[in-house]
């Protein structure tokens, strides 16, 4: 059926189409590729090729530039660790909270369900800056000093709605009676949740968890307003401060390359896994990327 359509459109327009797509992709990837290329040279100024070397990678991992006898900014490492800790804790809390919420939401009456769904969509629609400022005002209003805790709470706020949305399709596909069956057979609600519901919902919970991790790692706006001024930085806010100071720390180039390639590999693995599951179950709603 698809080939049929192509035949009608003629080979010329097909080639034009492909050229357009590849040009657009080249444009999208040009800056990324440039950073990767220039992570293999040691010049402070970007775009200035001073010969191939792994120097920046060595600096990044040593925390010290032996050739120039200077330390790589220790705040960079602190920022990396904080980014990881915040993402992990926020994703775990969001997955737990969001899964329970999705189950509750699924069994609500139509009207309450609509109200809660609307509330759930607010953090997804709101721009970062609004979420950030509104939480900033809340913490100030309640007299809570900002720091690691407030950043984690803020990340849970914008991650949980996505967990709810990831778990929902699994609930809709699940046999609604198995939970009751478990209770009838003498399971406590906790056992029924633990042994019956969670195994059924696990794929949705997993994509919600991964989604939360990426959203949290990627966030800048909300973190910016909730991190306080005690020197807490995540990778995003560190990069922002660094770039505003003028020249970018050269070691960010290898770091960026590593992050990019890790993301690439992770995405490919996730999608291959999803495609396999799809083939096995004929289930098209599994890939966190293309779902």
């Amino acid at each position: 059926m698809i080939r049929h359509r192509i035949d009608r459109r003629g080979i010329g327009s097909v080639i034009c189409g492909h050229v357009y797509l590849w040009l657009l992709l080249a444009l999208l990837y040009a800056p990324i590729l440039l950073i990767i290329i220039f992570s293999f040279t040691k010049s402070k100024v970007f775009g200035n090729w001073t010969g191939f070397t792994f120097g920046l990678y060595q600096n990044l991992f040593n925390g010290y530039d032996f050739s120039a006898d200077v330390r790589v900014d220790p705040n960079l490492y602190r920022a990396i660790i904080y980014t990881g800790v915040i993402a992990l804790v926020a994703a775990i809390i969001s997955t737990f909270l969001g899964t329970l919420a999705a189950i509750g939401l699924f069994h609500m009456r139509q009207r309450t369900r609509r109200v809660v769904s609307f509330m759930n969509s607010i953090p997804m629609i709101n721009p970062d800056i609004i979420t950030g400022i509104s939480l900033f005002l809340l913490f100030v209003f309640l007299g809570i000093s900002r720091g690691l805790g407030t950043v984690i709470i803020a990340h849970v706020v914008f991650c949980t709605p996505y967990v709810v949305l990831s778990v929902m399709p699994r609930l809709q596909k699940m046999n609604p009676n198995i939970y009751e069956a478990a209770l009838d057979l003498g399971a406590t609600p906790w056992q029924a949740l633990h042994k019956v519901l969670i195994p059924e919902l696990r794929p949705g919970m997993l994509s919600g968890f991964i989604l939360s991790l990426t959203l949290s790692i990627d966030d800048f706006g909300v973190t910016f307003f909730t991190k306080g001024s005690n020197g807490l930085e995540t990778l995003s806010t560190f990069i922002y401060a660094d770039a505003r100071k003028g020249g970018l720390t050269p070691e960010l180039r290898p770091l960026f390359s590593i992050i990019f390639l890790t993301t690439l590999v992770l995405l490919v693995i996730i999608n291959i896994r999803a495609a396999k599951q799809q083939n096995m179950k004929g289930d098209s709603k599994n890939s966190p990327l293309t779902n």
Binding site: I2, L28, A101, P123, S134, L137, Y240
Partner: protein
């Protein structure tokens, strides 16, 4: 106690409390701060102050214009790309789609800085042009993906029927494909317009602080200047919130579609 847990409806309880406290209450606080002065008395002075400063109003209009132009460029570049991908016989269209989506997963600040470095390398000046290029570059995938998604779901037999019934290829496009892809276009527009109209970091980096957007204006009110500007900043946030609310209100008929798109996108 037992009956409470048996009813699964109550399982959403913690999340509802959480959201009322951390989503609804904070938004109400923006309103409260916007309509009060520093000592907590009711006032509309914050809004008067905004509308009296031509500089601030101009920044607001300029930001809206920049966001609209960016959205329009993204639509202009993105729709054909999504269309070609959805209609073509790539052996693996999924891989192609993934290549377009992949940049979305990379921190937008890193991507923005990469763009800045690109401009440096070719000795191009930072400013309005860089701003438009950088924002288009940052948000183009958000336009392509939802449009691709809806185009892909269109039943090919509809297009064949249209052509068999005598419509030209252009007529088939304008009368069949375009109307059916409207939900995708709508979510694309929302997903590009919302972040571009509210951004502050991107514009600062891409223009070296030469151009101030509305988002930066808000951010500065909450910046180093202490508490004196918070009420003014809240008023500006409320204006932004109204813009966001209006944008999503115009597409309310497509609401469920947007939710699906967003849920699938990230």
């Amino acid at each position: 106690m037992k009956t409470i847990f048996h009813n699964r409806r109550t399982w959403a309880g913690p999340y509802i409390v959480f959201m009322v406290l951390l989503v609804v209450l904070p938004l109400i606080l923006i309103g409260v701060y916007a309509f009060t002065d520093m000592s907590g008395n009711f006032t509309i002075q914050n809004f008067v102050q905004f509308f009296h400063k031509t500089e601030a109003v101009n920044t607001f209009i300029y930001s809206l214009a920049i966001a609209l132009i960016t959205t329009f460029i993204c639509l202009l570049l993105g729709y054909p790309a999504a269309y070609i991908m959805a209609m073509s016989s790539f052996r693996t269209p999924a891989v192609m789609a993934m290549l377009f989506i992949l940049p979305m997963w990379i921190n937008f600040l890193l991507r923005t800085i990469a763009t800045v470095e690109l401009f440096h390398m070719f000795n191009l000046p930072l400013g309005e042009g860089a701003l438009l290029f950088g924002m288009t570059y940052d948000f183009l995938p958000f336009m392509i993906y939802p449009i691709y998604n809806t185009l892909q779901k269109i039943d090919p037999s509809l297009m064949e029927a249209s052509q068999d019934l005598g419509a030209t290829r252009i007529q088939t496009f304008t009368r069949v494909v375009l109307p059916l892809s409207w939900p995708g276009i709508y979510s694309g527009i929302i997903m590009v317009f919302m972040p571009t109209v509210s951004t502050f970091a991107i514009s600062e980096l891409l223009t070296h602080n030469k151009i101030t957007l509305f988002g930066s204006l808000i951010q500065r009110s909450f910046g180093e200047g202490g508490t004196t500007m918070w009420n003014y900043g809240a008023a500006l946030s409320l204006i932004m919130l109204i813009i966001i609310g209006l944008t999503s209100f115009f597409g309310q008929s497509n609401e469920t579609e947007v939710d699906n798109q967003k849920g699938g996108l990230l």
